[in-house]
């Protein structure tokens, strides 16, 4: 199911007056497409994801799914940057949470969650609590939780943003591997240009606050990809191109805050 954002505006009403977060954002994501969004920090990327997930309502504009209005929203699973796991649930219960909410009985949801935990290499940690795991392991659980409930669309908000560089590389490859197996529509927000190019079929580059779409770039890399894909010549060109755009936006946002 393809979905389309049409002229989305989001304005937060705060005590200090309205703060525009998103301005006239329009784009379309095809079924099973992996879309990455990069932008300077504070550009409303998270807001955009929450709008797509239906956790927030746009101030104006609309999101349609195969042309239908948003009440027909297909199942989507959000993966947050950090702290998205429930500290009071074991790894297994966390991973099975989506199924539990859908009323899947205990035995079945544990079986399905267990299989996925094993797939992300955490089979031995099923009965641990999140505080007993490293941040990288927690993010794997969060990803398992999202995949286990078999959503139509995955919304990922810098899921590897708080990981060290090496762990991030490992998890990027892991994500690509799982995604190859279970093709989902993905909207992946990141501030890491290389990550966006490595993972995405397309990269949207956003402007600083209020966030808008500066450019929509197709990534001409074949699938399946691995980490070496980033070394190809035309990819380096794209990387610099995106950086040229972002550099501007980051400068602007620095001046605004300074």
């Amino acid at each position: 199911m393809a979905f389309e954002c049409q002229h989305l505006h989001k304005i937060y009403r705060t005590r200090n007056g309205p703060i525009p977060a998103l301005e006239d954002v329009s784009f379309r994501v095809e079924d099973q497409e992996f879309l990455c969004i990069v932008g300077p920090s504070g550009c409303g990327k998270t807001t955009l994801l929450k709008l797509i997930a239906g956790l927030l309502e746009p101030t104006s504009g609309e999101i349609t799914f195969d042309g239908q209005p948003a009440d027909g929203r297909p199942r989507c699973a959000l993966v947050f940057q950090e702290h998205g796991l429930f500290p009071w649930m074991t790894v297994l219960d966390n991973a099975a949470f989506g199924l539990e909410m859908r009323g899947v009985d205990r035995q079945e949801r544990h079986d399905r969650a267990h299989a996925f935990i094993g797939r992300v290499g955490l089979g031995a940690f099923a009965n641990c609590y999140p505080h007993e795991l490293s941040v990288g392991m927690r993010q794997r659980v969060a990803i398992a939780r999202a995949f286990v409930c078999d959503p139509h669309m995955l919304l990922m908000d810098e899921p590897f943003g708080s990981l060290d560089a090496q762990t991030r590389l490992v998890l990027q490859e892991e994500l690509l591997r799982i995604w190859k197996e279970y093709r989902k529509q993905v909207v992946y927000v990141t501030h890491d240009i290389e990550e966006a190019i490595l993972l995405g079929d397309r990269v949207l580059v956003m402007t600083g606050r209020p966030g808008g779409i500066r450019e929509d770039i197709k990534i001409p890399l074949a699938r399946p990809r691995d980490l070496r894909a980033g070394e190809q010549h035309d990819v380096a060109e794209i990387k610099w191109h995106i950086w040229e755009i972002l550099k501007d936006e980051v400068r602007k946002s620095l001046y605004v805050t300074a």
Binding site: A53, F80, F86, W88, M101, Y129
Partner: protein, 243 residues
Amino acid sequence: MTAFLAVLVLAVWEWGSRTGRISTLFFPPPSATVRALRRLLSTGRLGENLGATLYRVFVGFGLGAAPGLVLGLVSGWSRQLRAVVDPFIAAAHPIPKVAILPLVMIILGIGESSKLAVVAIACFFPMLINAMAAVREIPPIYFEVAENYGADLRRVFSRVVAPATLPLAMSGVRLSLNTALVLTLAVELVAAQKGLGAMMWLAWETLRTADLYATLTVTAILGIGFNLIVQALERYLIPWHAD
């Protein structure tokens, strides 16, 4: 080291009061306290009074903490209710609860119910305040995750609100239980025939200092015991809390 110091103090105390260097009226030797404790235990006086105190502590705690918990959870959740409840807390919480005993006795009479009421009122506030804070401090991300995965209100409560508030709610239990003990003793000191507080008062009136120390010892053990029980309960109920 601590144990050694304690034994040393007790030994010096024993020696000092036996040799007349310390007044036995104020500081009877620890052995006299032990004898008094044995006597109170064997005559059944201690059991009877301890029972009366425990009854007041637990019934008062239950009557006060349970509604405190419920109201705290609900008003932590609802901004409108909080706006109503907050001023009442601000006004009523700082009043020392012993001070309302005379008023409560005028209303409820001098029987057991007025004592339970005062203990209950005192337990109500720490529980209410902790439960309220517990709900308000739940990070919004947990609600977002729950909503994203399609949790209904009932499940949001059972799978998010209840476990997320448990640690602070348990501190509320600990505070309330300690308050219950303090208030029960205070009420018994001034207005009861039975109970550890009443025993202490009688011991003072008859200048039986050893009895006083014996009762104090039991009270101290009670306080320590409550905290150990709550701690054990916390370890059992909140296994995800890393120490």
